[in-house]
Homo-oligomer: 140 residues x 2
DNA sequence: ATAATAGCTATAGATACTGGAGGAACAGAT
DNA sequence: ATCTGTTCCTCCAGTATCTATAGCTATTAT
């Protein structure tokens, strides 16, 4: 039996976050001690590790809920889980592509900045004038 | 004179977002028509374009506030604006590096997924077991 | 004059947590 | 048995950046 603090240390998930996951229905409602404190078993630790791992990979709570649903029904085809992961992979690749463009522009902005007055500041000029962009860019 | 809708179409910033920026003090409190509707001039459009551009580059509202402050005082040294941009560039490079690790792992997860039952699903196994990771990864 | 479009305010919701206040429980030392 | 220090509880508020809805009013075109 683990206390919430032990579970937190074991998984690297902060205590309020664990309670939040319980509230959101990602973690089962925990058993309680006589004094109303949460007590966990090792399968709770595994489930929470799964959740943390998926969050670290950028899966949303909703996607994780789907994945947990899937893993609870081991006879259903794996295609669904795969599809979620593929979607995630595409999102990650999109983000990388956009961030590369931003990197290019920021690099250009800063590396030219050898003047020392704001009125000649390349950073501010670049931001004021979209025409100077190397490329179309969007919210990252 | 532009209405809020025209300003929105001219800059690509949604109407509620423009009002939000006014509330946050990024945009000046707009003049009003007789019927209490906001009216804008071309300098408002330029300022909003600056804000949108900076947001697209990932600057926070706070950083943008600083940049707008700086550009209002053209005699101060440019170093501060440069520093904000450099900070932003570093953050972007960090994000890219982390996302590359995630990409690697997600790719590995999905490309091996040729089984068709959840109980053998590589995606779910990977998420359940951190030991299978190629690398340490963190929240993106 | 009427209808369609666009605007107003105020409030709530989305996302995924994080932190604090105020108090109760537990573990170990005396 | 009591004291002390740590950990836990609930509830509420706040973060950042919008987005959306409801209910109402203004403007524009015909």
């Amino acid at each position: 039996m683990l206390t919430i603090g032990e579970l937190s240390r074991a998984t690297g998930v902060k205590i309020p976050t664990i309670r939040y996951y319980e509230q959101m229905g990602l973690m089962a409602v925990a058993e309680r001690s006589g004094g109303n404190q949460r007590r966990y078993e090792s399968h709770d630790r595994e489930r929470l590790s799964f959740i943390k791992h998926a969050r670290d990979l950028g899966f949303t709570i909703e996607a994780i809920r789907e994945l947990l649903e899937l893993s609870a029904h081991p006879d259903r085809p794996c295609v669904d889980a795969d599809e979620i992961a593929v979607r995630q992979l595409q999102a990650v690749r999109n983000k990388i592509a956009k961030l590369r463009l931003l990197e290019k522009e920021l690099d250009r902005m800063t590396s030219r900045n050898h003047d020392d007055q704001v009125k000649h500041c390349y950073v501010l000029q670049s931001l004021a004038n979209h025409d100077m962009c190397v490329s179309e860019h969007q919210r990252p």
